[in-house]
Amino acid sequence: MNALLDRVGGVYALPVILAILAFAAIGSTSTWVTLTAAGLAMGMMIFLMASGLSLIFGLMDVLNFGHSAFVSFGAFIAASVLAALGAWLAADSVLLNIAALMAAIAAATAFGALAGWGFERVIVKPVYKDHLRQILITMGALIVAEQLLLAIWGGTPIAVARPAFLTGSIIIGDVAIEAYRIFALLLGLVVYVGMYLALNRTRIGLLIRAGVENREMVESLGFRIDRLFIGVFMAGSALAAMGGAMWAGYQSLITPALGQELMIIVFIVVIIGGLGSIQGSLLGAILVGLMTNYVAFLFPKLALASNMLLMMAVLLWRPYGLKPAVKG
């Protein structure tokens, strides 16, 4: 089976295989295209949330169960900014629409980076190298963050305004694809390419990749991993908040439970993909996004269970995930 898979592109062929199987099961081309687009868009948003978590673990072995707080705050901050800029959103000018959307995403992302810095210094730094205390203290921080969320935005669902130019669908023949999904897909791709270039074409990226493999050796070569880690933690938190902001616009109705619900999926993605690798995160996120949407259509009751099954199947086959970072 491995040899056969390698001939068609290795683990990267898995989403394609999944899509082909789904096509056979669904039967209708237009439905399949819609579901596939939805799956890819969802996958890209989950990728934003998962990639940071994966790198944070890969570089410092830090288990951050508070990661979902950044997703939730990102979503709610974006919703507030969009609400405040309602006039721009409704305007006929696509330029104003885009400006409002960018402002919301930028606010969420900037918050994620700043809060990530504080979180790393205050919560995570004292418990490097101690998994049990990491789990306890980051879960504690998550509870505090969720209470803050309730105190600031209340417990009732909040409607998220969507910019006018992204409300409709793009129709090609008898296939309809929501414009927002295409936007999410494109933004996710841009972030992925940016991350890929940063990791593979810069010296900081080289240090991060080396640090994920063997932290001690990077320090023995004279580099301060702890300083590098603050940067990675901030970037990972910022990406989580960006993912939350995108998700808010996608859902159009958000509740404070959103972070927790997404976190289960995010952990599944990180485990499927393999810790410490952004290629793995992307692959896992796309698989989970597609799986969720296909199964929700074919067997609505099995949507979450299908992802758990997918994770178990992957772990039985590849215990370290599909594309784990090399560990030294």
Binding site: R203, L206, L207, R209, A210, E213, N214, E216, M217, V218, E219, S220, L221, G222, F223, R224, I225, A325, V326, G328
Partner: protein
């Protein structure tokens, strides 16, 4: 003591709840190869890791030139000019040979003349320059690990059992390389292979059970068979 580039003074190191080093005192004079011999589990690796700050001395002092490095963070110790070639070589398998070498350069750039000399010492480095390091053989990895330590001139190189598991031909090639490296830098070499150690070492210390049990000139040890038998049966019994 004058002339020592590295001095350990009554160093005690614990790993977890275990007391591993029981007061190591050691002088490494400037220049040449100095060997730390000792049987498996004697505390050689722990000594090198303590110098690098990867384990922390609970008691005692480690002085490099005039810097007290006992409590210094590992990266700062490295920046003083100490390179470390660990027992497992510490190669980044997911990176290319070039990227491994580039990381060891503080500026990220290479000195062409120096690189040329490294290629002459270790032709495999040039041959596999753009290959992923995980694909190298054991001997090639060891060469990369040593090449990485000399990308720039260092004051002191700590090398942990470089001949472990290597074929005799590769070991012979390595002796030449070490001789050349030792002309510009001081090497503290941990070994169990006495023949290899003897052909290179100026000074020698023997460690057992976390204590230094002998130190002196390699020439003296090499010519004193009674001493060899006593120390080496102690230090190398499990290997010969």
């Amino acid at each position: 003591m004058s002339g020592a580039i590295l001095r350990l003074d009554d160093v005690h190191t614990d790993i977890g709840q275990y007391h591993i080093l029981h007061g190591i005192s050691l002088n490494v004079p400037e220049g040449g190869v100095h060997v730390l011999l000792g049987r498996n589990g004697a505390g050689k690796t722990t000594t090198l890791r303590t110098v690098m700050g990867l384990w922390r001395a609970r008691k005692g002092a480690i002085v490099f030139r005039h810097h007290d490095i006992t409590a210094m963070p590992t990266p700062d110790i490295a920046r003083l000019g100490i390179a470390y070639v660990p027992e497992n070589m510490g190669i980044f398998g997911g990176l290319t040979v070039e990227e491994n070498m580039r990381l060891a350069s503080t500026t990220g750039r290479f000195d062409d003349e120096r690189l040329g000399r490294i290629f002459a010492l270790f032709p495999a480095i040039e041959k596999f320059w753009t290959s992923q390091a995980s694909g190298l053989s054991g001997g090639q990895k060891q060469m990369l690990a040593i090449a990485r330590a000399i990308v720039e001139r260092r004051e002191l190189i700590l090398i942990d059992e470089p001949t472990k598991g290597l074929a005799p031909a590769i070991i012979r090639a390595m002796i030449g390389a070490f001789r050349e490296i030792a002309t510009e830098t001081t090497i503290l070499l941990v070994e169990q292979n006495f023949l290899f150690a003897r052909s290179l070492g100026r000074g020698v210390a023997v460690i057992d059970d976390g204590r230094i049990v002998h130190h002196g000139d390699m020439a003296a040890l090499a010519s004193d068979e009674a001493l060899q038998t006593r120390l080496l049966s102690l230090s190398l019994a499990e290997h010969q």
